[in-house]
Amino acid sequence: MEKTQNNRAWLLVLPVLVVVAFSAVIPLMTVVNYSVNDTFGNNAFFWAGLEWFDEMVHSRRLHEALGRQALFSAIILAIEVPLGIFVALNMPKKGFWSSLVLVLMALPLLIPFNVVGTIWQIFGRTDIGLLGHTLKALGLDYNYTNDPLDAWITVIVMDVWHWTSLVALLCYAGLQSIPQAYYQAARIDQASRWAVFRHIELPKMKGVLLIAVLLRFMDSFMIYTEPFVVTGGGPGNSTTFLSIDLVKMAVGQFDLGPAAAFSIMYFLVILLVSWVFYTVMTNIDRSQSDIPEAM
């Protein structure tokens, strides 16, 4: 059967094209434009080719920020994913307590990022902050403003406080979708708690876990507001993550060309790592050996 051509269909797609163009394509192209040109303002551009990319690829400052960023994201995933699963497994399944816990869990997610930063900035201060003062009173030498390790711990604990709920809520939704009959069948089979988790709950949560890992990776890799408010990237450069460094470069030093090149590379790294996560996690099942050891 021959398909009828109807060019008016393009007209119907047009609004979407316009919105996407102005919201994504044109801004991105502007960044691309900056990354291959040099400018001194007044909209005067001088072709720079791949000079900025070359400079950024060999920049020690960027390497260090990337290293800190990778370490931060790795720690965040290593803590928040298992902790989120653990919390989800222990949340009440129904009734009043389940509603209450759900609301409490959602609270941190509703707080604006810079407010979270401010809360922890004050919370951790040794003079007036509850946490900082208590730790000091206990004789611990805690000060996030001049000890890099303390600054890291503060930023990580803050992120865990802020975002573990998201992982827990996603896993909770995954767990709720498992029919009761599975647990009964496992009971009849005399399966252990671990076997129930490993062979029923984990496989059934796989889909939401993939989303949780991707979201947490992307968000933690792009983190800006909270550490900026708490530590401002310090002490020294110890908590200067990629976004903070990028803003310093673009807005602080007004190095638009290098910052644009940096942005594009930053974006590509996130895209690449997310793709790797996705591919690995969707293939994990197939690569599993067919006959594992006793459960």
Binding site: A181, Y182, Q184, I188, D189, P203, K204, D290, P292
Partner: protein, 359 residues
């Protein structure tokens, strides 16, 4: 042998199962037949030990197992949903109960392959449950239940989620699997036809009560009350008010000779008959005629369900052949008196139909 002695269960003041006593013999097939929410699953959960009875005792081979945990009872169960470990292969799924029991490797391998062979799963052993069709997934769940060699195998509407073709296929195989296992099978279903196909014994359930328990054909032919007859007929049994006076029994506007009902005392009765005994023509000289109004027809291909109104009663007839009739038209239906059951004022069976007594 599984014995339930006065077992009941209530949750939060609501009775799920009224006191029930049943004895299931070793190596018997037992069907629990009843509509949704009649208590089939509740009764099964009590048998399995997943729930504790509020009153009564459960004996296994004469031993009281009432308080014993489900894990320690040697029970296997198959559900309406296809329950398998999603991340494990079919082989590992079937092997899982044996692995938990800590059986030696070669024994596990032998039993898994035997069971898989019996359920036609041998070519699928390396696959994951989600890569199988619904029928194969349920076979896998059946294999998991059978491989343990449990003394009690509970099947809770195992075919309800399968499409028609697969249901037929597995329905034929279940009696064969049952015979090979030697266990007590308990099979819950909402479909009378399934109970008749499986044979064995049937317990009919209605609102948390076992209304009758006995050999399946007996329960079908001689239901002890109108409720059992309703549950064990698809479509449900038709009823009409009846009155016996001397040598005649009047059914609605028609009268028939008392015949096999001659011994009953005079008075009001409820007459019941199954859909397949209603016909659109006088096939027998003794048949009695009823003037009805046609409500509608459903054509299955070779048969027609005829829905009619007779006064305030609504009847369904299952007649052979395709009948194209207009809803609303007057329609005469005929009934052979040999197919009429009489129930007394409290709906207990007063006299079974003549054909049922003869059989």
């Amino acid at each position: 042998m599984l014995e339930l002695q006065g077992v009941s269960r209530s949750v939060g003041g609501r009775v799920h199962i009224h006191p029930t006593s049943l004895t299931l013999q070793r190596g018997s097939m037992n069907v629990l037949l009843g509509p949704t929410l009649s208590g089939k699953t509740s009764l099964m959960r009590l048998m399995a030990g997943l729930d504790q009875p509020t009153t009564g005792r459960i004996l296994w081979d004469g031993q009281d197992v009432t308080g014993r945990r489900v894990q320690d009872r040697g029970v296997a169960m198959v559900y309406q949903q296809f329950i398998n470990y999603p991340g494990l292969s079919v082989y590992e799924n079937i092997a899982s109960p044996l692995r938990i029991l800590g059986r030696p490797r070669d024994e596990i391998d032998r039993k898994v392959r035997e069971t898989a062979e019996m359920l036609h799963l041998t070519p699928m052993l390396a696959r994951k449950p989600l890569e199988l069709s619904g029928g194969q997934q349920q076979r896998c769940a059946l294999a998991r239940a059978l491989v343990k060699g449990a003394g009690l195998v509970l099947l809770d509407e195992p075919l309800a989620n399968l499409d028609y073709k697969l249901r037929e296929e597995l329905r034929i195989e279940i009696p064969r699997i049952f015979e090979a296992s030697g266990a007590i099978f308990v099979y819950a279903t909402t479909e009378p036809e399934e109970a008749l196909l499986l044979g064995g014994n049937t317990a009919t359930l209605w609102e948390g009560r076992v209304t009758q328990f006995g050999p399946t054909p007996t329960v079908y032919r001689q239901p002890v009350d109108a409720t059992t007859a309703r549950v064990f007929s698809d479509p449900p049994m038709n009823f009409v008010g009846a009155r016996k006076q001397g040598a005649a029994v009047s059914l609605g506007e028609s009268a028939l000779a008392a015949g096999s009902f001659a011994d009953l005392p005079d008075g009001a009765y409820l007459a019941g008959f199954r859909a397949n005994h209603l016909s659109l023509a006088r096939h027998r000289p003794t048949a009695v005629e009823f003037a009805c109004r046609l409500v509608g027809t459903e054509i299955t291909g070779s048969e027609t369900f005829v829905h009619v109104e007779h006064g305030a009663d609504r009847w369904v007839g299952l007649v052979e052949g395709v009948h194209l009739l207009t809803a609303g038209q007057p329609l005469s239906v005929w009934l052979d008196p040999a197919h009429v059951y009489l129930f007394d004022a409290s709906e207990r069976l007063a006299a079974p139909a003549a054909y049922a007594k003869a059989a």
